[in-house]
């Protein structure tokens, strides 16, 4: 349950932050009148395209992949913290014996 919760919260948090960075980059490029294409391998993170007077901004599946990676990292960190807490809690028991 704890791992699932950490995975979900980490995914949401990193997803929002990744979207924020991508959106900030996109809006700056939009205002500057340029184009943008950021991708990791085949996965597009954010793209700003122009055709004539029309500007289109696309947030790609790369953001979902980044969010999922963030969720996994958060779940791993939560597991590590839980293991350290358990180890710390075990020490007094050993002393009592």
């Amino acid at each position: 349950m704890r791992a699932l919760r950490a995975l979900a919260l980490g995914t949401v948090a990193v997803g929002m932050l990744a979207y924020a960075v991508a959106a900030a980059a996109a809006v700056i490029v939009q205002a500057g009148g340029g184009v943008l294409d950021v991708h990791v391998g085949p996965l597009v993170l954010v793209a700003v395209e122009r055709s004539g007077a029309v500007t289109s901004t696309m947030f790609g599946p790369g953001l979902l992949a980044v969010a999922a990676l963030g969720g996994l990292a958060n779940a791993a960190a939560a597991a590590l913290l839980a293991r350290r807490a358990r180890r710390r809690a075990r020490v007094p028991q050993m002393i009592d014996r």
Binding site: R2, L9, A13, L17
Partner: protein, 271 residues
């Protein structure tokens, strides 16, 4: 940092009865010895006068009594059971704190800061939100001014002076703190709670709740603030307004508090 002229006042929700200090919010109690009982009975008096009373009652030196009384008062304040009333002079205390900070600077440490606990009415969501707004307004305004000055300075260095943008970013940063704590308080509806200011950290102290509710309360603060920020960012992308993206930035950063890097995230994950 406590002074002999400071007064100790039990926080809202904390009572002393039958030799026991009871925290109705945290649902915890502490037995208090005779000296502690005398100090608590003189609650509201200057700590120096209380120390004189302790010295006279228990026949100990004034220095020893003063050390004991200040240590006890410090411990109560650290546990957010009592507030320190500085009606003797906040400016004088601030100057004394700064002087001590300068003396301690070579050791790389700062003098301790007192804790302030305020009542939080969580009977209804509007009351909880209004309570946080009132209690956190000063802190929020301070953050807003500091961020506005910083952003204005960066704008000047970048050769793009502006007044509106620094003010908007400052208000978003200060408002973000209030929204964060207000969301915690709203999620605590019906649970006795208090707002605790510990230096630059603000936290909500509340009565024990189930694991699910605890996780909801912890995630609500950063979650709601980050969702508002993300919404503003979406609007800024739709209308190509970089200024709105800058305003949304401080709110989105609250999303970091959903991870185990922050205490809210760790609480939500029961760590």
């Amino acid at each position: 940092m406590l002074d002999a002229g400071d007064r100790l006042v039990l926080a809202d929700g904390v009572v002393f009865c039958n030799g026991t200090l009871v925290d109705a919010v945290a649902r915890a109690s502490w037995p208090v010895n005779a000296t502690g009982a005398l100090v608590l009975a003189r609650s509201g008096c200057a700590l120096g006068d209380v120390a004189d009373d302790v010295a006279a009652t228990f026949v100990v030196s004034v220095e020893r009594a003063r050390t004991d009384v200040l240590s006890f008062a410090w411990e109560l304040n650290r546990l957010a059971l009592a507030n320190v009333d500085r009606r003797a002079g906040r400016v004088r205390h601030a100057v004394a704190w700064l002087r001590l900070a300068v003396r301690l600077a070579p050791a790389g440490t700062l003098p301790a800061i007192t804790v302030r606990r305020l009542r939080l009415d969580t009977r209804t969501i509007p009351r909880a939100i209004a309570g946080v707004g009132r209690a956190g307004a000063g802190r929020g305004a301070g953050i807003a001014v500091a961020v506005a000055v910083l952003v204005a300075h960066i704008g000047l260095l970048a050769g793009r002076p502006s007044l509106l943008l620094p003010v908007a970013v400052g208000l978003a940063s200060g408002g973000g703190l209030i929204v964060h704590e207000a969301a915690h308080a709203a999620a605590l509806r019906g649970i006795p709670s208090a707002l605790v200011f510990r230096g630059r950290r603000v936290s909500v102290l509340h009565a024990p709740a189930g694991p699910g509710r605890r996780a909801l309360v912890a995630a609500a603060g950063p979650g709601v603030t980050a969702i508002i920020g993300t919404g503003l960012l979406a609007v800024s992308v739709s209308y190509s307004t970089p200024a709105l993206a800058l305003v949304a930035g401080p709110a989105v950063v609250h999303a970091l508090a959903l991870t185990v890097l922050a205490s809210d995230g760790r609480t939500a994950c029961e760590l």
